[in-house]
């Protein structure tokens, strides 16, 4: 069930990128898609249990796998920085194309 929700998020984001006309909306859709990917990592990490694997008094808990969670941190940071970079680019483009419709920008800039 949870897995289906995660995939639905990814596909919502993906179709948003294709179908939305506005560039800012496209970027937000991309963020939705990356949220889906991150959620999938967390889901897979918690297959065997939900406990955080930290040294403590609790013994033999059903621990969550720390590796995917640690790995996805990198992807979160990268996704965030790419999004910031893209929004700066869009800001620059907005000066000459105030509507930010990707079709218009593409038509003006295709050789």
């Amino acid at each position: 069930m949870l897995e289906a929700c995660v995939f639905a998020t990814i596909f919502c984001g993906f179709f948003g990128i294709i179908l939305k006309k506005n560039l800012v909306m496209k970027i937000i859709s991309m963020d939705v898609m990356s949220t889906g990917a991150i959620a999938y990592y967390v889901l897979i990490a918690s297959r065997n249990g939900l406990f955080t694997p930290i040294v403590g008094n609790v013994k033999n808990g059903a621990y969550a796998d720390p590796v995917p969670q640690a790995v996805i941190l990198t992807a979160i940071v990268i996704g965030f920085s790419i999004q910031a970079l893209m929004l700066v680019g869009v800001m620059k483009l907005a000066r000459d194309n105030p509507t930010l419709e990707s079709h218009e920008i593409e038509k003006n800039n295709m050789p």
């Binding site: 897979i44 790419i82 620059k92």
Partner: protein, 478 residues
């Protein structure tokens, strides 16, 4: 050896930021990094291969051997040439910083053997390439860069989902885990790498991006940045026998598609960019010798882009009425000869080696692609000459480095010089020239660019995903 490897990986990033602190030393420091890479790559050819496991069995795995040696050597030489080319131009320290960070991230992609460090390296190279493309800050360059970042980031998100599926099956992120992974994981990972490397239909973002960026940036992009996406495919094909046929099929498809567009293209830089697509196909068609082909192609394509940037016009039609300077023409012809596989240049050795390692069903298609290469480069060879040009000597330093590299790399495979090996490429070139002079010079066909629109690029990804999953892997029964 392992210490040197780690220092060498960290060096570009360290010096890249130092450049920003000491902007006066920018060119010298960046040139140092490029030559350090060349030195390291040359050392790899004498040392045995090395596998480094940082942290534990799920940690970062680095593999350095001859295959990565070829790719790293390409990276070093192309970067050095681009820096020499920019020597007298007024590029700021920011440009050199980005150039060196791009260089470092591509280096990192060439040594890693696990999915997550590959992801990080590819994303860093994507960001650095975006900054280089958008550096002139015109509307067009920002749009082209934004498009590139969008396509590559969406592809890498699919790749991430594939990577976690591999982890679920194998409990590690290493490439070797692909052998036990479910087919959907392979399909997702391949989609990411194919798009990032500019292969087959999902690589059609490449022509516009490479042709609309500045000359040194296009040389960098076409010479090495796409190879960061191709290298993992080659490595996977060598490590996991099941994916080898898929890689070969995509190689053949790419070679034909790229050359088909290149033959009909009337714009120099777009023609070169389409040609990059086709040459990437040659690298994938025979993964065993892909490294040497990548070296040859990186050197020659960087040289061609640098030369095309100093021609008086970008349209072939105008160039046919406008004489170009003789020295530039000679450089152009040497590079064109190498890429069509003329003996005495390393393009010949690479073509023969690739032909030797093809499977029987690939041979006809690859010969057609080689013929198309000869036809499309006849456009350059039959240009009128005798005009004047004033180019800076940095340009010549770069060209001499690249073309000298082509001659030197040729010596490495002197055993391919047999009579029958020599006759075949010469015949191909001859037929190609005849076909050009008789047919292709006169026809004007404008191929539609529908597939290169932004939405279609993203949409094609889903089609490729379905194709990979439903046809390819199900059919192979992995």
């Amino acid at each position: 050896m392992s210490t040197i490897t780690i220092i060498w990986i960290a060096l570009p990033f360290f010096l890249g930021f130092i450049i920003y602190l000491l902007p006066k030393l920018d060119k010298y420091l960046s040139l140092c990094v490029a030559f350090a890479t060349v030195g390291y790559a040359l050392q790899l050819f004498v040392e045995p291969s090395l596998t480094l496991k940082l942290l534990d069995n799920f940690g970062v795995i680095l593999t350095v051997d001859q295959l990565s040696g070829y790719f790293i050597l390409t990276n070093g030489l192309v970067t050095a040439a681009v820096i020499l080319y920019c020597w007298q131009s007024h590029k700021t320290a920011f440009f050199y910083t980005q150039l060196i960070i791009l260089h470092g991230s591509v280096n990192a992609a060439f040594v890693c053997a696990d999915l997550i460090s590959l992801y990080v390296a590819l994303e860093v190279s994507g960001i650095a390439a975006f900054l280089l493309i958008a550096y002139p800050r015109t509307d067009r360059s920002i749009w082209v860069g934004l498009r590139y970042l969008f396509v590559s980031n969406v592809a890498m998100l699919f790749y991430l989902v594939g990577a976690v599926l591999v982890y679920q099956a194998d409990h590690s992120f290493s490439f070797a885990g692909l052998g036990v992974a479910p087919p959907e994981a392979l399909a997702l990972i391949f989609l990411g790498l194919l798009t990032k490397g500019g292969i087959f239909v999902s690589g059609l973002w490449l022509p516009l991006t490479h042709s609309e960026s500045e000359t040194p940036v296009s040389a960098m992009m076409s010479g090495i940045v796409v190879k960061a996406g191709v290298y993992p495919l080659v490595r996977c094909a060598l490590m996991v026998a099941e994916v080898d046929p898929i890689v070969r099929i995509f190689g053949v498809g790419t070679a034909l598609l790229g050359v088909f567009y290149a033959v009909f293209e009337k714009d120099t830089k777009r023609m070169l960019a389409f040609h990059t697509v086709s040459q990437l196909g040659f690298i994938l068609a025979a993964p065993v010798v892909g490294g040497f082909y990548a070296l040859t192609h990186g050197l020659v394509k960087a040289a061609l882009f640098l030369i095309a940037g100093s021609l008086p016009s970008r349209s072939f039609k105008e160039l046919q009425h406008q004489a170009i300077a003789l020295p530039i023409w000679i450089a152009l012809v040497i590079a064109s000869f190498s890429i069509s596989g003329f003996p005495l240049l390393s393009g010949f050795g690479a073509k023969v080696l690739t032909a030797k390692n093809l499977l029987p069903w690939q041979a006809i298609a690859m010969n057609v692609a080689a013929l198309g290469t000869a036809i499309s480069f006849a456009k350059f060879i039959f240009l009128p000459r005798g005009g004047k040009a004033d180019v800076r000597y940095g340009f010549w330093a770069a060209i001499i480095l690249l073309i000298g590299g082509l001659f030197l790399a040729n010596i490495a495979y002197y055993e391919v010089y047999t009579v029958e090996n020599i006759i075949k490429p010469l015949a191909t070139i001859g037929i190609g020239w005849l076909a050009y002079l008789l047919i292709f010079q006169h026809i004007v066909i404008k191929l539609p660019r529908v597939l290169e629109q932004f939405e279609h690029l993203i949409g094609v990804m889903s089609l490729i995903l379905i194709l990979l999953f439903w046809k390819g892997f199900a059919w192979l029964g992995i």
